[in-house]
Symmetry: C2
Subunit: 125 residues, 2 copies
DNA sequence: TATGTTAACAACCATCTAGTTGATAAAGCG
DNA sequence: CGCTTTATCAACTAGATGGTTGTTAACATA
């Protein structure tokens, strides 16, 4: 997978979740597949509007569609959700580790030099 | 916290991460605070452009800004990232559990009735 | 005070998005 | 064959986004 391709995938996936309608669709699909009309029912928008939302989710790789007669059931792809949490957690954990190291540094430094804790704006460089 | 307020926060947070420039900014900030000019350096856009990206991240609650003389160091908020993974993981785990239950159901049903595995399009309702 | 640095603000523009209406396709049913 | 259901495609509008340039504010330093 190309680097820009992976970037593009992340772009679309995060963008897809940046909408309350699509998040409610994802929440609904976590409990099982559903058709477009079923998904549109709780909302005040047309089925065409919901269909476009599903296209957004599909192009982001978050859902897939199968075929049963004239219905097109939508399925949630749990693995795609996992790649998002992996991206976030990577940097979240780095930040938390850094914070713990900084905290420990300030704590030990405070024993001999109280002024060291006055400026917490340290660069990592 | 109001329900629509939390929705709005999620909107902005996911939207903020739906841009490769902002994700690189987040990645950089995971290693420590940085100023706007430092953050703008790796990109081909103006510092004003980067400043707008940081405003987006700030309004999403993902970063905060402090003040050191005329510099405004930007800090990553790891806790805000965690709320995003919590939202995703909630529905991801529901979907995975459902999938495991369905898989177990089909496996046991296949012992007595092989036709039960022919249509995987089950609704949860 | 004058000068340079850092960063925000304002206005503007091109593009994209979310929703609509209208028409069309595909499948099942009378 | 007609009719209904389900869902997509096409075209359009209002509003948001990402970028720019130009200007201004805040601060340090000479």
């Amino acid at each position: 997978m190309d680097a820009t391709e992976a970037d593009d995938r992340l772009d679309r996936a995060f963008m897809a979740l940046a909408d309350p309608v699509r998040r409610r669709i994802v929440a609904r699909l976590s409990r099982g597949p559903a058709t477009v009309t079923e998904l549109a029912e709780p909302f005040d928008i047309t089925t065409q509007g919901v269909s476009k939302h599903i296209q957004v989710l599909e192009s982001a790789g978050l859902v897939t569609r199968s075929r049963v007669a004239q219905r097109r059931p939508v399925h949630l792809d749990a693995a795609a959700l996992e790649t998002l949490t992996e991206w976030i957690d990577r940097y979240r954990l780095i930040a938390e580790q850094r914070f713990r190291r900084l905290d420990a540094l300030l704590t030990t430094a405070a024993d001999g030099d109280a002024a060291a804790a006055s400026d917490p704006e340290q660069r990592s460089s």
